[in-house]
Amino acid sequence: MERLNVLICDDDTAIVDALEIYLKQEGYGVEKAYTGTQALQALSEHEIHLILLDIMMPELDGLSATIRIREDRNIPIIIISAKSEDTDKIAGLNFGADDYVTKPFNPLELMARVKSQMRRYTALGSIALKNGILKTGGLELDREGKEVRVDGEIIRLTPIEYGIVVFLMENMGHVFSIAQIYEQVWNEPSYAAENTVAVHIRRIREKIEINPREPKYLKVVWGIGYKIEKY
């Protein structure tokens, strides 16, 4: 298998160097750039499979660079920025980024996200969907094989957790309250002061999400219920 290359672009050299170490540990090839223009240049000179891109940079900022890259490329772009406002995240994702990580990030979480994006990018179109498979983003539910996969990796779930995932995946995008989930999965009426469902959901999130506090698939709608996001 050929080596996968990651382009790191940040005006802070210390961050670039640190990320280089982490990425090389994971077995990726690394190209470095310190401005948006340099990133575009590196992109035209080398074969790149994923870009880590800062927003606030001299010459050409990360959002403009994203727009320019998206004109002819569909490689994964993960934005790493100190800007943590919701509006910044929405703008970044709308301009074509695949993921948005705020500084200061946990390096291990970032590596997990890189791997996730890389798997999705390289495996694109290679897996034929079998019957009975439900899929949202990188999350797959194989009801025949009773398996749940994230980005192709099998996740180990308890029977209850699996039941919750099946129920939510079959009704993707809909929000269900704790009582509804309990009645559906346990098949018996729920008790008011019962937080078992919430505990199970948290455990599922810890297993399927890269950052359980900012879930991508199994989302908490506070004060209303839970849902699995439809992508």
Binding site: I15, E194, N195, G223, I224
Partner: protein, 665 residues
């Protein structure tokens, strides 16, 4: 094309033309009216025989004729008794005296007969075989005897009196076709001329009037279409409207008097020219008055540009000065003294006029006294009525409602200065609040921007500490130091995030959406998230809730942040092996959840201090957390329209978050 036409129609030439049309139209209307009035008899009559002059001359002539034949001949009756066989020769000489006494009435025919004697007199041709028939055929014919009368001309009663109880019959008429030579013929000609003249005059009058009206409407229309500002700049100074009105009224009365006086005399060309000049002056004065008023209505100056208004404002200004500041007391005394003086004066005048000591109408004096007092009462009453309004405004302002409107227009002059001071006070407060809000916002922006700059180096620190940890460090102490570094860099990260959030929450620089949030669901979810940590902290969780859902109006994400902060405090600061209680309840329009736990450390601090930024319950600052959790929770609750309450009772720590219940709208 359309635009071009419009431009032409609004040009000054068109305006001048319209003015000329109004002028000529007015002259035409008035001239026509005068002519018509002059010939109104002819206009109203259908025939010349109906005219007054015709009828009076006819009556006079008839009277004279009858009197001549009846009154005079009676005295020398003997002379005429042989009338039975009277020949023409006998009759003719008796006719002649009429011709001598009156102008020849060539068209007047008569036949007078004595029914007893059969004697008759007439000026008809002797060949006329049927004189009575001929007379009765005429359009203007009269017959009467002592008892009855007939005919189509009104005749004087005294003619009838001449033959009352006497055996006479009188037939008379004006024979047609009329021959020139007498007054009847002149009347006939005059009538026909008048008839034509009056018709022409009324036609001219009506057409002129319509032309004038059209031109006048056009002038008003283009005046009202003009831009008020343009009018103002064109005519910055104007006659006061009321003075103008008075002058126009005087001119109208004057010209009416002159007109009536002049037209009373015999109409001649000089009179006509003079009248035309007066009327022309009138129409120009009138037209420019109306146009000027129209312009001032358009510019809204119709009332403000009047002498009465100006005098009123000057008086108002004086009164305002009187009620302002330092001279207030002096002015009050002067005003009170003035009131008493005028009242006394009026009272004396009343008394004096009642006893007739002075020349004056008692009733008028009393009315004056009442009017004066009524005016003063009105003035004071208005002030008193306005006072509660000002008081209300002050109350609202002191309660924090800085946008409460104080309409200075309805405040009377005595309190307007006071009202304005309050108004500016309101403005000052508003300004101060705006500056404070702006300052708070700037602070938030500053904190946000600084946090961006802090985050970048912190990223490197976290990354390199992690890398360092992975290195195989020989020195055990070094490994320990790296752990400290890791812990502190994580804490720094948390601090920066909380700092930004706290500043946003306290300045209200956050978006809040009002969603339906089920408190029970929220607490279950939050406890689910914290279940592991609660167990780790060796705490037992007890949730008390009513079975029904308690839905409040709030923002789910902010609600979670509040619950998270509170639970995180519980986990961090609770005494191990104690119970934590969460009560969910609804009461008085609010849904609330209360968290109670036992503090691991003595809480020698007030609840107020706890929610202050950077104040924490424990004195040591070594544990994790920023101390901003409660402050953020409080700010978020307040921003969502809720109430946040902290209670400390010994080691018992109790916090209640209440939010308005959800109501369907």
């Amino acid at each position: 094309m359309d635009i071009k036409l419009r431009n032409i129609s609004y040009s000054s030439g068109a305006k001048l033309l319209a003015i000329i049309i109004v002028w000529l139209g007015f002259l035409g209307t008035m001239g026509g009216c005068i002519l018509w009035l002059d010939n109104r008899q002819a206009a109203n009559a259908s025939s010349y025989t109906e005219t007054y002059s015709f009828q009076s001359t006819f009556s006079r002539t008839l009277y004279n004729t009858v009197e001549y034949y009846l009154a005079v001949p009676d005295e020398d009756n003997t002379e005429n008794t042989a009338g039975d066989s009277a020949s023409e020769d006998d009759n003719w000489p008796q006719v002649n005296p009429i011709d001598d006494r009156f102008p020849t009435m060539v068209n007047f025919v008569y036949y007078v007969r004595n029914t007893e004697t059969g004697q008759w007199w007439s000026n008809l041709d002797a060949e006329e075989t049927d004189p009575i028939g001929f007379i009765q055929k005429q359009p203007s014919t009269v017959f009467f005897n002592g008892r009855t009368s007939d005919g189509n001309i009104a005749i004087m009663e005294d003619i009838k009196g001449l033959i009352t109880d006497r055996p006479y019959e009188v037939y008379a008429a004006v024979a047609e076709p009329l021959q020139p030579g007498d007054a009847f013929y002149d009347y006939y000609v005059d009538f026909n001329r008048s008839k034509v003249l009056s018709q022409t005059a009324s036609t001219v009058s009506i057409i002129s009037f319509f032309l004038m009206a059209l031109a006048f409407i056009y002038l008003i229309y283009i005046t009202l279409r003009r831009d008020p500002e343009e009018i103002k700049t064109q005519r910055p100074v104007r006659l006061y409207t009321d003075v103008h009105t008075l002058l126009v009224a005087i001119a109208a009365v004057l010209s009416l008097t002159i007109g009536v006086r002049t037209s009373m005399g015999i109409p001649d060309i000089v009179t006509f020219v003079f009248l035309a000049i007066v009327l022309s002056l009138d129409i120009f004065i009138g037209l420019f008055y109306v146009l000027s008023m129209a312009e001032q209505i358009k510019t809204g100056q119709i009332f403000t540009n009047s002498l009465i208004y100006k005098l009123g404002s000057v008086l108002k200004g004086f009164l305002r000065l009187a009620f302002q500041g330092k001279v207030f007391k002096v002015w009050m005394l002067i005003l009170l003294g003035g009131y008493g003086f005028i009242n006394g004066l009026l009272f004396i005048l009343c008394e004096q006029s009642y006893y007739g000591f002075i020349n004056g109408n008692f009733l008028f004096m009393v009315l004056l006294l009442i009017a004066f007092n009524a005016g003063v009462v009105y003035f004071i009453a208005r002030s008193l009525v306005a006072l509660p309004q000002i008081m209300e405004a002050v109350k609202e302002i002191s309660a924090g409602n800085l946008d409460y409107p104080l309409d200075s227009a309805i405040i009377p002059v005595s309190l307007s200065a006071f009202a304005e001071d309050i108004h500016s006070l309101q403005g000052g407060l508003k300004k101060a609040v705006a500056i404070a809000v702006k300052g708070e916002r700037m602070k938030t922006d500053l904190i946000t921007n600084v946090s961006h700059d802090l985050k970048t180096p912190l990223t490197s620190i976290i990354n390199y500490v992690d890398l360092l940890k992975k290195e195989k460090l020989e020195n055990e102490r070094a490994a320990e130091y790296v752990n400290v570094l890791e812990e502190k860099s994580d804490r720094l990260k948390q601090l920066i995030e909380d700092l930004v959030e706290a500043s946003k929450a306290s300045s209200g620089n956050l978006t809040i959406t009002g969603e339906k949030v089920d408190l029970h669901e929220l607490i279950m979810q939050a406890c689910g998230e914290y279940e592991a940590k609660i167990q780790q902290a060796q705490l037992a969780l007890h949730i008390n809730t009513a079975d029904e859902t308690i839905a409040v109006r709030g923002d789910g994400r902010h609600m979670w942040r509040i619950a998270e902060n509170l639970l995180s405090n519980v986990v961090k600061y609770s005494m191990p092996h104690t119970r934590v209680y969460i009560d969910i309840a609804s009461d008085d329009g609010y849904g609330s959840f209360t968290i109670k736990n036992i503090s691991a450390f003595p809480l020698n601090i007030s609840p107020e201090q706890l929610t202050e930024r950077f104040v924490r319950g424990d004195e040591s600052r070594s544990t994790d957390g920023s101390g901003l959790g409660l402050s953020i929770a409080q700010s978020l609750t307040t921003l969502q329209g809720g109430e946040f309450q902290l209670e400390i009772d010994g080691d018992l720590f109790k916090v209640t978050t209440a939010l308005p219940l959800w109501t369907e709208e």
